[in-house]
Amino acid sequence: MRVVSFGRTMLRALVYASIVAVMAFPIYWLVLTSLKPQRLTQTRPPTYWTDQLSLGAYERLLADPDIQHFFINSLAVAILATITTVSLGSLAAYSISRTHLSYRVRRGLLVWILLTRIFPPIVIAIPFFTIMRSAGLADTVLGLAIAHVSVTLPFVIWLLLGFFQEVPNELERAAMLDGCSMWRRFWQVNLPLVMPGIAVTSIFAFIISWNEYLFAAVLTSFNAQTLPVAIASFIGERRLEWTTMAALGTLMLMPVMVVALLVQRYIVRGLTFGAVKE
């Protein structure tokens, strides 16, 4: 045991407090702006606090059928993309982690998977647009979800690979001798043990898809349009509706927060997975 002096404790508290402040302030600012009257959003000096708060912007947004439509689109795309990514990603990571490949083939495969991510997204967006249009998937939830999977899948495979590799090979062998098919080994032996990894990667994929702007802007017009594109559309020619944008931004934050809180337990375990040998 190390004796930590009072001064050190204070210093540490101060450092943590400032980190939290830096990260929390934009969120505070966003929420405050969404509640302010429009005229107080652009004052100089800025209005750090006011008691003229109102939920007017929220009422207007939530009553707006278009916003409801975009919100449902966002949710549908993100959920579809997440489920697809994690299903494909875990199968891919499992098979890569358990297949006997030579070092070179294995590395080649992994680099190739990541290679799709080195292009600037806009470069891929254009061919995606023509592909989706010819496949009849332009401006559909499915089309956008597929595009999002192409973004999230490589990351998820890489992340999950680490988790699958942590599962001892002898468990796999024990399961083989217990008579398990490969499918059952994946499902009943490996998957329960990589649940923390599945949780971390799910939220990761969900957030990427939920926040994604570029593909959504290029591949959708109205039917499958998502919230980030909707927010941007408030940057109108005439004026910027700061309060509405902030309120919509706050609404966008909510599902992510809820998902994060739900799987928090797993995330903490997931982020430290492998750091401590059992």
């Binding site: 083989m176 001798l177 032996v189 329960p192 043990l193």
Partner: protein, 393 residues
């Protein structure tokens, strides 16, 4: 019924030859131990029997059927891993039941088999626990239980006791032997501990560098090692190996000289000795060397060091520059004191090996009585003299 047979099995990993053309036969309901130093190919051999490792050449037979191409799941074989490999997310019950459930066994049979194995292994109170809530010894028993519930044809155990402390290992070793005698299984057991092999096995297979050095009953291998490696690997303390020379003496007889040790051997021990004599390696088990104060026995040596092991004293002798270890009853070292002593070895206790290949040469007959029954010049305490050497005779 379950016999296992490996014919001409060879396994190469890249440029490493893990197994070089191995032939082994394991009889039904027998206990076979694979021993050898680290990297000798023991686990590789076991994995090949289990089907977890493909083989480069050769065939594996189970009950006379060629199973070389069968997947592990199709072979009716259970394995206990060195790390136990229990499923961490399943309870003890589910760990033991998993293999049966996968094979679609009716649930009442599953319950009955698991409970049977649990009571055999004293795990009945632990069935609801998760592996992480168990001690090392308990985990080891669960791993065994998982193998037993399936009633497999063959049990494979890869160093199952190596994670246990010395005392628990000793105790579990005895329990294992009794357990497998009771359930009558065919067992292949990997260990690098020669004493485990000696005590457990009906048949010992000694491996080194992927080659079988010798195979047979433990006492046969102990008494008639086929080369220096086997001779030194089995038995603790290890057999002494010193260099010497054999020449013809008058008539048919032979004369062996190894430092002060000079003895006549019957001519049939080593036929074809040239007139000038041959260099040999001389092997003598420490417990077959008798030691007494100077002048009492045939040859002289210096006593350099005494190690007392409690039941035994190890005496480090200097035989004209070559060192010999003798094992005697406890108290012998203190009674002798450092300095000049004398020692004796009976000709039947002497092993001869080829100086280059290390292979056993000549004809040797079974070692009989322990030295203390022939020469007891100063036995300190008759009761402490009854060590296992006497039982062996």
């Amino acid at each position: 019924m379950a016999t296992v047979e490996l014919r001409g099995v060879r396994k190469v990993f890249g440029r490493v030859e893990a197994l070089a053309t191995v032939d082994v036969r394991v009889e039904d309901r027998s206990f076979t131990c694979l021993v050898g130093p680290s990297g000798s190919g023991k686990s590789t051999l076991l994995n090949i029997v289990a089907g977890l490792e493909s083989l480069s050449e050769g065939q594996v037979f189970l009950d006379g059927t060629d199973i070389t191409r069968q997947a592990p799941a199709e072979r009716d074989i259970a394995m206990v891993f060195q790390s136990y490999a229990l499923y961490p997310h399943m309870s003890v019950f589910d760990n033991m039941a998993f293999g049966l459930k996968v094979r679609k066994t009716p649930s009442d049979v599953v319950r009955q088999r698991v409970e049977e194995a649990a009571s055999l292994l004293q795990l009945s109170d632990l069935l609801d626990r998760k592996p992480r809530q168990l001690s090392g010894g308990q985990r080891q028993r669960v791993a065994l239980g998982r193998a037993i519930t399936r009633h497999p044809k063959v049990f494979l155990l890869d160093e199952p006791l190596s994670n246990l402390d010395a005392q628990l290992r000793f105790q579990t070793r005895v329990e294992l032997k009794l357990l497998f005698e009771r359930i009558g299984g065919t067992v292949i057991y990997v260990t690098h501990d020669q004493s485990e092999a000696m005590t457990l096995a009906d048949q010992v297979v000694v491996l080194d560098k992927g080659r079988i050095q010798q195979m047979g009953a433990p006492m046969t291998i102990y008494e008639q090692p086929s080369n220096v490696f086997v001779a030194r690997f089995l038995g603790s303390p290890a057999m002494n190996v010193i260099s010497g020379r054999v020449a013809r003496s008058d008539g048919d007889g032979l004369r062996l000289v190894a430092g002060a040790l000079t003895t006549d051997l019957p001519g049939e021990r080593l036929p074809d000795v040239p007139a000038g004599g041959v260099d040999v390696l001389v092997g003598i088990r420490p417990e077959l060397i008798s030691v007494a104060p100077a002048g009492h026995l045939t040859w002289n040596a210096r006593l350099r060091l005494v190690e007392s092991l409690g039941a035994q004293d190890l005496l480090y002798l200097d035989d004209e520059g070559q060192s010999l270890v003798a094992a005697g009853p406890s108290g012998l070292g203190a009674a002798l004191g450092r300095g000049d002593v004398s020692f004796d070895v009976r000709p039947e206790a002497i092993h001869l090996f080829h100086p280059e290949s290390g292979d056993a040469i000549g004809v040797r007959h079974r070692t009989s009585a322990a030295p203390w029954t022939i020469a007891r010049p100063m036995e300190p305490d008759p009761s402490s003299g009854t060590t296992d050497q006497e039982e062996r005779s």
